[in-house]
């Protein structure tokens, strides 16, 4: 048992309102530099949708991640052979148009243009060439555009859905969508690290943050191809790749990462998990059906004395072990089984977990199910086309079973296609709601609540805990950040303000482009 600590995250998608505050917080701190304008280390996508970069999930095009080959795994579009052979021209590299051409507006024209008959306009100009452009795309171009033929229907996750299911999904009255905020997953089997020919990318042993050493990066640009989540970005100006650093200077100072700190919906949780590094290879190369289970099996119980002993032998600090015991991530992922990894089939063992959203699943049409419609709240019936959320709970799992949002779609995102996994999570989320409704409104008979809890595999105490951490949790409960142990001198000993506008920490060289 090789116990290591990893700073891991949970995003609760039911709480995400798609406000992009996280993206802006990140942008303002890290990517407001020349060459980095197009990068959104944190971005929020509308699902179903094509995302950023366009259709990033389609690995037939982008060739990211690992694939299983003869019992073991190999990088799909990079690796020792492919990487070095394609070093002069990487056929699988996305270009800037796959993201979008960064732009600004000539705001000064509004003030400085001479008096004329027309109102002055602020024309958009490219942040690359400085010339006027027609804006064709942006980082959230398909925001809220579910159902549109150009965006939502091009979602790669729809591939395994039957045409009928797809049609049903996009009927005007039934249309639903949810938001998917994404940052670097700080994977346990990172494809970017494995693909880097110059060895510039590494995982920090102490906390598992994946970083790119800006002094070693030589612009061989294989990481951009290899990362299936397209979270490694090439800075076209400095000729170096950059990625989310999980705000490690903030984490080391005890602050939550900027995206998480600023989150309006408080959807984000961050904490330490202990995992067994001996199991990485096996978990990454397991069959598609077992991928999620094997990944979750790697996470160890931080209360187990043997785990604690092994962790101590590996130099994990007491404070880190304690943080792991209080970790909200461990609770969501392991204790309650509520969170799943995004696209586990890419085999990078992502350490960012998502609680799949119940809302788009739950909202069901009553006109197709009049029996259920009659049981709805009277207030719902005020609406002429009474299709509000079915909160009657007479049918315990009716809304999940007859979801207007096919479970298959969710399963393609969070469980490598295994609907049962997503369904189990959604049932638990539903059971917590039923439980809370029993407590606060009291219009559900206790037997019904008990039945719901039994079928979902929860008890009242757990449901109460889930409810509290989901809805009431304060800052310190959502972010359990282990102390950085500056006495042991992890790299960051500088004030973040000193290095604002530069490329990173640890060196004072100006981030100047080479000749």
């Amino acid at each position: 048992m090789d116990v290591r600590a990893q700073i891991s995250m949970v995003f609760h998608l039911d709480k995400c309102i798609g406000c992009h505050t996280c993206s802006i917080a990140c942008k303002n701190i890290w990517t407001d530099r020349k060459g980095a304008e197009y990068m959104w280390w944190n971005n929020v996508e509308t699902k179903p949708g094509t995302g950023y970069p366009t259709k990033w999930e389609n690995q037939e095009v982008y060739k990211g991640g690992w694939e299983k080959r003869n019992g073991t795994i190999a990088l799909k579009g990079a690796g020792k052979k492919k990487g070095l052979l394609n070093i002069f021209h990487n056929p699988n590299l996305p270009v800037i148009d796959d993201y979008y051409e960064p732009f600004t507006y000539k705001y000064l024209d509004l003030i400085e243009s001479p008096a004329a008959d027309d109102q002055p306009t602020a024309r958009p100009v490219s942040l690359i060439t400085g010339k006027p452009i027609d804006i064709k795309m942006g980082p959230n171009w398909d925001d809220d555009l579910s159902g549109t033929p150009d965006y939502a229907r091009q979602d790669p996750n729809l591939e395994n859905l039957s045409p009928a299911e797809q049609e049903a999904m996009f009927q005007l009255e039934r249309m639903a969508f949810f938001y998917l905020p994404r940052i670097c997953n700080h994977c346990l089997n990172p494809a970017c690290v494995a693909s880097c020919p110059s060895g510039a990318i590494y995982k920090r042993g102490e906390d598992g943050v994946v970083l790119i050493n800006q002094q070693v990066c030589r612009a061989w640009r294989m990481c951009v191809t290899a990362c299936p989540y397209k979270k490694s970005y090439y800075n076209w100006h400095t000729g170096k790749s950059e990625k989310c650093i999980l705000c490690y200077p903030r984490i080391e100072a005890g602050y939550a990462p900027a995206c998480m700190h600023s989150c309006v919906g408080r959807i984000r949780y961050l904490g330490v998990v202990l995992y067994d590094a001996d199991l990485i290879e096996g978990a990454a190369s397991s069959d598609t059906d077992n991928l999620v289970d094997n990944q979750l099996n790697m996470l160890l119980d931080p209360f187990d004395p043997r785990v604690i002993q092994a962790a101590k032998e590996n130099g994990v600090a007491d404070s880190t072990i304690k943080a792991a015991q209080y970790s909200p991530v461990y609770k969501f992922v392991k204790q309650w089984g509520l969170a799943l990894p995004l696209h586990p089939e890419f085999r990078t063992l992502p350490m960012l977990f998502y609680v799949p959203p119940l809302l788009p699943v739950m909202a069901s049409l009553s006109e197709q199910n009049t029996r259920q419609g009659e049981k709805m709240d009277p207030i719902a019936k005020f609406w002429p086309d009474n299709w509000l959320y079915d909160t009657s709970t007479e049918e315990l799992w009716g809304t999940i079973d007859q979801a207007r949002f096919p479970l298959k779609y969710m399963a393609n995102l969070f469980a490598a296609g295994d609907e049962a996994k997503v369904k189990a999570v959604l049932k638990k989320l539903m059971a917590v709601r039923i439980h809370r409704r029993g407590v606060t409104v009291g219009d559900i008979p206790p037997e019904k609540v008990e039945q719901a809890m039994r079928e979902a595999g929860l008890d009242a105490d757990t449901a109460e805990e889930i409810y509290k951490l989901t809805s009431l949790a304060k800052f310190d409960e959502r972010f359990v950040i282990p102390p950085a142990h500056r006495e042991q001198a992890i790299e960051m000993l500088e004030f973040t303000g000193d290095t604002k506008g530069s490329v990173g920490f640890g060196f004072k060289e100006k981030p100047q482009r080479g000749l």
Binding site: T129, V193, R204, A219, Q512
Partner: protein, 246 residues
């Protein structure tokens, strides 16, 4: 007049190579140690990918072959002469090298065309890029010219230029044979020195960090700031020689 040409020969065939070598060595090392951030191939594929293929790939492939060809003739001239002993093998070598030379030329022309025409690429093009591209273009044109008009280059390189180059490296420069060479050949030699001279000041430095160690390094890299097996031991804080932080 003779004295003038002697001075020219002495400068370009003795002075320049030493200047170039010293500047190349010190410049590259200093650039690597002091301004590591500038050490990059500065790929522009991200801004434009399609045209680059027809420039970068033939250019690099041809360049690899030609540089290794020149290096072989410099290091094992006898081997090259032995190989060229048979006319068929000589012609095979010359034709192959010429084809790779053409590949470099095509690649270069495509690269230059791409730099000039694409507005996005113009943004990431420095004056040094143009200097390097024109020097390389001059170099490949003179190279092809020499190969075409003064046959058979692979043989006389091994018997004339190799001794000259060795004389430079052994600090006993002897240019009697080279000085008598046609001016195109001399231009090619001077071009080569100029390129070497400019390496530390241009993106050409990236050839110094070809990532060959990738072949034998493990795929995953984990860096520990402290030796993790030591850090928690009770005596570590008290030991005189503490475990190093990398």
């Amino acid at each position: 007049m003779d004295a003038f040409f002697n001075t020219l020969n002495n400068f370009f065939l003795i002075g320049l190579p030493y200047i170039a070598l010293v500047v190349f060595l010190i410049g590259s090392i200093r650039r690597y140690t002091d301004t590591k951030f500038k050490f990059s191939s500065l790929s522009s594929q991200f801004l434009e990918g399609r045209q680059l293929f027809w420039g970068s790939v033939p250019f690099h492939m041809g360049m690899l072959f030609l540089v290794f060809g020149h290096l072989t003739a410099f290091l094992i001239p006898r081997g090259v002469l032995l190989w060229n002993g048979h006319p068929a093998r000589l012609i095979l070598l010359e034709v192959t090298a010429f084809i790779f030379g053409i590949a470099v030329l095509i690649g270069l022309v495509n690269l230059i065309y791409r730099r000039i025409t694409s507005p996005r690429i113009a943004v990431v093009t420095s004056k040094m890029d143009y200097a390097i591209l024109s020097l390389l273009l001059l170099q490949v044109i003179t190279g092809l010219w020499v190969a075409y008009s003064f046959r058979w280059g692979s043989s006389w390189f091994a018997s004339v230029l190799t001794p000259y180059l060795w004389s430079i490296f052994s600090l006993q420069p002897d240019i009697t044979a080279v000085a008598a060479m046609p001016w195109v050949v001399k231009l090619h030699i001077v071009g080569a020195y100029s390129i070497v001279l400019l390496i530390p000041f241009s993106r050409l430095v990236h050839f110094l960090v070809v990532p060959l160690d990738y072949i034998w390094r493990p795929y995953q890299q984990v860096i520990w700031y402290w030796p993790r097996k030591e850090v928690r031991k009770a005596w570590t804080p008290w030991s005189i020689k503490r475990p190093l932080n990398n």
